[in-house]
């Protein structure tokens, strides 16, 4: 893909051995993110989106096997040795996880966790690290940041904890921030504030971001590009506006249709996707969405559609029967 990308994931596959056989969590994915850009990765539980982010961060479980290349800033992270990786990933790559209660250390104060990160990577003395910590907490919208330094995670609300996690992630001025379901555990009003905060800090720092979510509503209007994943593969990838205007992949369409709409009258039956995703230890011959797809035919069950860029180099999809009607006329 484009040579100027900050991160490019090239033909990455992740295999996990399980008692029931090999589980292919990520199935030959290609993706790239340019500097300062935002990529949304959307999919249901078990579609491989979190495993893909862990492959980028080199945080895969020990038994997992990774193939392919993860090029970040000119280096292949999958082939870096531990110390080089530590240096690189600590300074330039940061991550915010779904649950701030488990990603923060419950027995250390907010201050200790922030100051520790700053001192480990930026060689600051304690006083300036402390000053920097207060600035960071203020930047992420935490009231009375000075006092918060001596508080423990359990003394803060879920939204405040997530702000602390973001402050820690931003502390070393990363070039790429991976936000893995950062708002799933939060209320809708707090979700809006956290997403705004991420967007604001991203613009200010000219940082690239990967926003992983199961909610198409979260990526709309907040990302430059979206990749939809299903059963370990990217099944559609397009600039965000193009995706919402002319989605081609029946799975993307079904995912969007299944979201209850505020405009719809009460008691309107929802177009649910029947069944559930395939067992990842028993891959299907054909298209992995075929058992749930309403456009399925014999070919879909025999042959796996490749991710093609027939539409335009920007807009790729993996389907033999792409939707040809503008969205809105479909549902």
């Amino acid at each position: 893909m484009s040579g100027s990308a900050l991160l490019s994931v090239e033909d990455v596959a992740v295999d996990l051995p399980t008692p029931r056989g090999n589980l292919r969590a990520v199935d030959h994915v290609d993706l790239s993110v340019g500097a300062g850009r935002t990529l949304g990765i959307v999919g249901e539980s078990g579609c491989g989106k979190t495993m893909l982010s862990r492959a980028i961060l080199q945080l895969l479980p020990k038994k997992a096997r990774l193939s392919g290349r993860v090029m970040f800033d000119g280096q292949d992270l999958a082939r870096c040795d531990a110390s080089a990786l530590r240096k690189l990933s600590a300074r330039s790559l940061a991550v915010v996880f779904q649950d701030p209660m488990t990603s923060l250390n419950p027995v250390l104060t907010i201050g200790t966790q922030l100051i520790e990160t700053l001192q480990a990577h930026l060689e600051l003395d304690t006083a300036s690290a402390r000053k920097r910590s207060v600035e960071l907490l203020a930047a992420v919208g935490i009231p009375a940041p000075e006092q918060r330094l001596s508080q423990y995670p359990h003394q803060l609300s879920g939204g405040m904890r997530q702000r602390v996690a973001i402050a820690i992630a931003l502390s070393c001025e990363p070039k790429l921030l991976i936000a893995d379901e950062p708002t799933t555990a939060l209320d809708v009003t707090v979700q809006a504030q956290i997403l705004d905060l991420l967007a604001r800090e991203q613009r200010r720092r000219h940082m690239a971001m990967i926003l992983i979510t199961h909610d198409l509503g979260v990526v709309a209007g907040r990302t430059d590009e979206v990749a939809v994943m299903y059963a370990g593969r990217v099944v559609e990838r397009a600039p965000t506006t193009a995706l919402f205007k002319t989605m081609r992949m029946p799975y993307t369409e079904a995912l969007l249709a299944a979201i209850p709409k505020l405009e719809a009258a009460p008691h309107t039956p929802l177009p649910a996707i029947s069944g559930r995703p395939p067992d990842p230890t028993r891959p299907l011959h054909g298209c992995s969405f075929s058992p749930r797809c309403r456009y399925v035919d014999g070919r879909c069950r025999q042959e796996k559609p490749a991710l093609s860029d027939a539409e335009s180099p920007d807009h790729q999809y993996a389907c033999f029967h792409p939707i040809r009607i503008a969205v809105g006329g479909v549902t």
Binding site: E44, S45, S157, G158, G159, M160, D187, V188, T189, V190, Q191, A192, Q193, L195, D196, H214, D215, L216, G217, V218, A220, G221, R222, T240, T241, L243, F244, K245, A254, L255, L256, A258, I259, P260, K261, L262, A264, A265, P266, H267, T268, P269, L270, P271, A272, I273, S274, R276
Partner: protein
């Protein structure tokens, strides 16, 4: 006193009158539900929305008397549940069932599905095991599960969506009249969520149910509710017919909740920070209107005077000194 008759003219199955529920935590009092009144008509679905900690789940539990009320009454079919004890309360509870948020955690991992779904029947005194089995099979079929395949299996063998179907079956097996659904789809994926919402709607029609549907997602609530009640920090802010409440919210908090919903449309640019801050502590709720610390319209009066629910449009009530036009 709040107006307890938000739904006049129809036959109410449940009336909650000036209900107060408090928790004592470390010498302090959490004001979980403060002077809430509402009614639900037979066959109606009332959606109850609000942020975490607003008291919506406590209200649901207090209806079932799983949480003792400090004061107020809960009238189910004319009978005051707060006055019932022992066997009389247990008999009443057969008519009211509960479905929880986490379908996997609410099923005993060591029991077989057939036993889990039959348990309410055992407790209710159905002695004939043949009859129990027939009722279990009937209800499993109704929720879209094949009894022959599921009764002998354990909960871990099922996905989240299937576990929620089992929970729905367990709630339905005694043929209740009223079901309290506490965030029944929050833990489920988008595609599975739609299946369960459709199932609840179908079961409501088939069994003639009345539902209290508690959730924090307004779009989900609107999809299934005839009327919606909005709660904030233990108090009711607004009640009204779903369509009308979403089109013309009168309470600024309702408007804020609606604006915060992410819209799956790339042309709709999310507006910056519609929401201000987070809810204050229910241990020391603000004086006057509890929403005033986050409200853009708040003034002096809001700090001193508790707003009462007032009629703002046909069927729509809001507790606000400065309702939106």
């Amino acid at each position: 006193m709040q107006d307890a008759t938000h739904f006049q003219g129809l036959d109410p199955i449940l009336k909650v009158e000036n209900l107060v529920v408090e928790y004592a935590v470390g010498g302090k009092t959490i004001h979980a539900v403060s002077d809430v009144s509402l009614q639900i008509a037979r066959g109606e679905t009332l959606g109850l929305v609000g942020e975490s900690g607003c008291g919506k789940s406590t209200l649901g539990r207090a209806v079932l008397q799983l949480r003792p009320a400090v004061s107020g009454r809960v009238l189910f079919d004319g009978e005051d549940l707060t006055a019932l004890r022992g066997e009389a309360l247990r008999r009443m509870r057969r008519r009211v069932q509960l479905i929880f948020q986490d379908p996997i955690a609410s099923l005993n991992p060591r029991r077989r599905i057939g036993d889990i779904v039959a348990e309410p029947l055992v407790i209710a005194g159905y002695k004939d095991s043949r009859e129990r089995q027939e009722l279990v099979e009937e209800v499993l079929n109704a929720v879209g599960l094949d009894p022959a395949l599921v009764t002998g299996r354990l909960p871990h063998e099922f996905s989240g969506g299937q576990c929620q179907r089992i929970c729905v079956a367990r709630a339905l097996v005694l043929k209740p009249e009223f079901i309290i659904c506490d965030e029944p789809v929050s833990a489920l994926d988008v595609s599975i969520r739609a299946q369960i919402l459709n199932l609840l709607e179908e079961m409501k029609g088939r069994y003639g149910l009345t539902l209290l549907f508690i959730a924090h997602d307004l779009a989900v609530v609107k999809a299934v509710s005839d009327r919606v009640a909005v709660m904030y920090l233990g108090r009711l802010c607004e009640v009204g017919p779903s369509e009308q409440l979403f089109a013309n919210p009168a309470h600024p908090y309702t408007a804020l909740l609606i604006e915060a919903i992410p819209v799956p449309d790339a042309d709709v640019r999310p507006c910056e920070s519609v929401a201000i801050g987070e809810p204050p502590s229910p241990i020391t709720p603000p004086s006057g209107c509890r929403f005033r610390t986050r409200c853009p319209r708040a003034d002096q009066r809001c700090a001193t005077e508790v707003p009462e629910l007032r009629l703002v449009a046909p069927g729509q009530y809001a507790a606000c000194h400065h309702p939106l036009a």
